[in-house]
Every structure is written in structure tokens, then in C-alpha cells.
Amino acid sequence: MSRIVIDGVHGAISPNDEEWDVIRSAPFQRLRHLKQLQLAYLVYPNATHTRFAHSLGVFHIMCRILAIVKNSNALNLDKEEEGNLRFAALLHDIGHYPYSHLLEGVDSVRLTEQIIYPGASVRTFERRDGLEPYPDHEDIGTDILRSQQELVSIFGADRAQRIGAYFSGKAIASQQLTKLIHSSLDMDRLDYLVRDSQATGVPYGAVDIDYLLNHIQVGSDGMIGISYKALPAAEHVLLARSFMFRTVCQHKTVYGFEEMTRQLLRRLRDRMTGSEPTYNLPRDGDEVREMVEGDRLLSFTDSFVDTIIAQASSDKDPLVSALASGILRRRPPVLLYEQRMFEEHQHAKRDKELFLMRCSKCIPTLAQKYRMEVGAFLVCTLKPIGFEKRSSSMGKDEAVAAAAEEETSEIIRVFEKNANKPVDIVDIPYSILHKVSAYSYYTNRLYVVLPASSDCDVKKMKNDVAEVFAGVG
């Protein structure tokens, strides 16, 4: 019996019976309770769309691509592999944490005091008290496929492992198609750009999926690329990502709330003492795995973190309660200083170091002057937003030298007129990417979290900060 799901972005999506069983399963239904754009809904009220809808969208795009390329002799795709690739697209986000990267990345969060007080004279590189870091969501996804009974009964252990390898980029077979799940011109990106754009009302993500898919080609050596006719559409995808990230993900208020959440979760997770509440946050990666392999998976949703935030808002530690109640009551942190650059990597690196140095200089003074904890200041060096994987961290010459490396397999490739083999988009002289691929947007910010009862003179504090950053403080 054929099933149809109507999606707001792609229209009718048609899974087969086996895929329908997976969609109906409780682990997949959990994705209905994970917001795609994390805390962006605090600024863009309609940005509450979920990873469930996004996963169906990615699945739909994969089906369309497979329909185009499956007859290619160079790819040598059999039925089983085709089925696995469809499942990999459907399940690529099955392992996401509540609020996705906010909780997943807790081990790499740097608390303000760690930034401004570098620590003792000799430090050791070692596991945190022998505890495992939180695994990434792709590893968790494979764990879920292999342990959740509903999915095990559909796939069996071996096939589950294989599908996990596809969506985590670890599959050795069907490399070219696997890379289409995660690469510059990937179906993940094609879906989220359009979906996020539609949900937020920010129009920059409206890329031309149909035109791109209709111009996919397979080369004589099995390399997948797009026809030269679709070059503007591919450039649009790379530019659209940059615009959407800057406007939505790195929006001053969205990012501020997300940084508050990261700092809060890290502080709670690190307590570990037993005398202070950790509000059921998993103490390490082993406990995360234990959760997702059992019944607790189904409650491991955004509500899990929402509950922690609500409980922590009355925590005895004033900093913890200020962070939590700020998120709960939608009181954004105050932006004290912002530095924006569009630069090659090496230039931006210098500016970032200077920014951190000045933060280290001014935060202890400000904390003392305004009677605040240093942890109330949020020092943020945002992830650079580049255009193409190759050269995002290199100068143009270095990027060309690196062209032979493995990394190139994730770059958009273009078939020039009558060519049998594609070339990298950054190597096409008349492509915008040829000119701008070595550049990225860099943003550094300093925020402060003020408790509701604070009588702090924000204007005065901003002036103090401005003096330091102008080099006169």
C-alpha cells in the first residue's frame, strides 16, 4: 500500500512500506520533538519546525537524486545499496541531542573564567577524570539503530551498522553518493536552506533545488557533479548558506541565548559532586549512550533541556540561576561589543587573538567595578562562515596546493561544456567562488548576562568596554 506524506517544502513524499515502518517507530517520532533551529524561535517566532520534517525532506531529495543517477554504469548501484542510501538520508539526524549542538558540544564549551585565567603552570592533556566525552550525534545515531528494538527488528544489527556508516560519512562503498548526504552540495543543506528560510521568513535561503537536481551528471569515472548550466544555482546555494547563517544562526540575540544555554549546561554538567543538583544531565558519554540505548531515549528531547532550564532558574548559585532564568523569561544577554570581519583566515586569526586579549584585560576590571561574577560575561568567537570547504582555512595559494587532498571529495564539481570529468567549482575562473572562497565572515562578541534585579548602568559599561577595545583603556 503506498503512503504519502504532504510536506510544506517538497509536496508529496512517498516512502515504501519498510521506510514507513521506520517513520512510524518511536525513535524516529522523537524527531518531532527536536527543533531544527534550536533557540532561533526566541527571535523568529515561526522557527519551530522540527528535525522530523527536515529528515523527510532530505529523504525525498535523496530519492530524486537516486532516480536520476541509478542507471549510470559508472556508479554500479544495486538495489540493496539504493535502499541503504534512502534509509541513510531518512535517518541521518536520528541521533541528535536535545537542542542539537547546544548539548552535544558541551565538552568543547569554554567557560569565561577558563578564557581569562589560563590556569596553573603545568596542565595535562587527559580525559576529564577518566570520563568519556559526549559522542557526536552521528555515533549516537548508529547506536540507536543498533539498540532500539523497533529498528533492530527492521534492519538487524549488520544492516543498521552499514546504514549508520552511510550517514556518518564512514561508508566505504558508494562514496560519491554518500558524500551527497554531507558535502557542499548536499541534500541536508538543500533541504534546510529552503525549510529554514520558509519558517523564519528570511528569504535568502530560497535556493533552486529543482534546477540543481535536474542538472546532476555522472562522469565517466563515477564522479557526480552538476552541469555548467547550473553554476549560478550552485553559487546561490553557497552564498545562501552564508547569508542564512549570518542572519539566523548568528543573529545577535539567537546566538546570545544559545551561548547562555551552552554555558549553563557546561556548568551544571561539571558539578559532579553530588551535593549540588545536576538536574539529570548525563555525566559523560557513557551515560548518554546508556540513555539512548534504552527507554530514556524517548524523553531525550528539547523538553529534557527545557526542564533543566526551568529547574535551574531557582538554583542557589546566582550565576546559574541568572543564566537559566534569562533563557526561561526571554531576557537576552546585553551585547557589549561586536567585531565583524570579512577576511582571509590569517588576518582574522590575529584579530581574534587581540579580541581575546582585550577581553582578558577588561572582564576582571568590569566584574569588580560592577560587582558581578566574571562568568556573567560571555566571550564569543563565532564559527567562521566560509563559502566552500576547500580553502575555508587557507589562503588561495594554499588551497590550490591542497587540491589533490582527500578533502576535495566534498566540493561541488561542475561539468564544463562537453566534458566527461567534472572540475572543482573553485577552479572555474568565472565562478564567484574562484574569487571569494578563501574569505570567510568572522564575528567576535562580548555579552553580559544581567540578573532581573540588576541596577547596572549598561550604557556606562558599554563605554568602558569601548575604551578598552579602542586601545585607550
Binding site: V122, R123, T124, F125, R127, Q161, K170, I172, A173, S392
Partner: protein
């Protein structure tokens, strides 16, 4: 330097694998050496995927590029005792792979060990299915002989990377 870059500098110094490289083969050796180190239990927060030449991590490439211009030292840092123990176990294998051999370049050896370990560690093939390992490697364009595969798996077991 980030903590990850500090760890990279500490580990490569300990193993005597240079970070500052201009040749493709040398960069490949760094990629595969760090993969083997992580599989030995030293988690440096590099997440590997499969690329044309085997397991590869673009974050590692970025860190290595960034550190080319870094001359700051790591004197205030040391490797903790747990990781020290893990590294000392894997160092023997890394040293063996760094030795030139006839008809088997250093880069080719690192690529073979890392690729075969990756295939088995990610559950795409069983450790005792040597024929299947060979088929999978051939499908990925790596023409290893059955003898090479058997020897590699034997060494990986000897150094505790496979059971």
C-alpha cells in the same frame, strides 16, 4: 592555540610525526597516524570520515594549516598518565610504519593500516573475513594483496588496535 591544537602538538612531538608539511604524502601520514592514535584510545576530538585515501578528518587539516604559523611552545603542557600509557603502546607501530620498505612507501603503509582498521572498526567488515576486507578495499580502489591484509590485521592485533 586551542586545546585540540595543543594536544596535536604534544602527540605529534611524542610520536615524532611532523605537523609542518608541504608534501601530500607527509600530510597523509599525519592524518593516518592521528587516526591510529585515536583508535588506540587517545581521544583528540578529531572525527574521521572515509575519503578517497582512507580515513580523513578535515578539522585536522585545518588545525595543521593553522599551526604552520604558530611558533608558541607547549612547555606548560604535558600528556597525562593515562594517555601516556596508551601512546607508548602505539608508538612501536608508528615507528615501524615510518621505516622505508622496498615496494611499500611510508605513506602507502600508513594508508593501508588506517584504511583496514577503519573498515573493521566501523563494522563494515568482520576482523576474520580477510577475503571480504580485500574485496572492500578493492572496491575502494586499494589493490592490497591478501598477504598484505593478513599481515596488517596481524600487526593491528599485536598492538591492541584489534581483538
Amino acid at each position: 592555540m586551542t586545546n585540540r591544537q595543543i594536544a596535536l602538538r604534544l602527540v605529534t612531538k611524542y610520536l615524532d610525526v611532523p605537523i609542518h608539511q608541504t608534501l601530500f604524502d607527509d600530510r597523509l601520514v599525519l592524518q593516518k597516524a592521528i587516526y591510529l592514535v585515536q583508535q588506540a584510545g587517545v581521544d583528540m576530538d578529531y572525527r574521521y570520515s572515509w575519503y578517497l585515501r582512507g580515513p580523513y578528518c578535515s578539522d585536522l587539516t585545518r588545525d595543521a594549516y593553522e599551526m604552520r604559523s604558530e611558533e608558541s611552545d607547549i612547555q606548560e603542557w604535558s600528556i597525562g598518565p593515562i594517555y601516556q600509557g596508551m601512546l607508548s603502546r602505539i608508538k612501536g607501530l608508528i615507528d615501524e610504519l615510518k621505516e622505508e620498505a622496498p615496494n611499500d612507501t611510508v605513506a602507502r603503509k600508513f594508508e593501508r593500516y588506517a584504511s583496514i582498521l577503519f573498515a573493521i572498526a566501523t563494522g563494515q567488515v568482520a576482523v576474520d573475513s580477510h577475503d571480504r576486507v580485500m574485496d572492500l578495499m578493492h572496491a575502494a580502489g586499494k589493490e592490497y594483496s591478501l598477504q598484505e591484509i593478513q599481515n596488517t590485521i596481524g600487526d593491528l592485533k599485536k598492538y591492541g588496535l584489534l581483538q
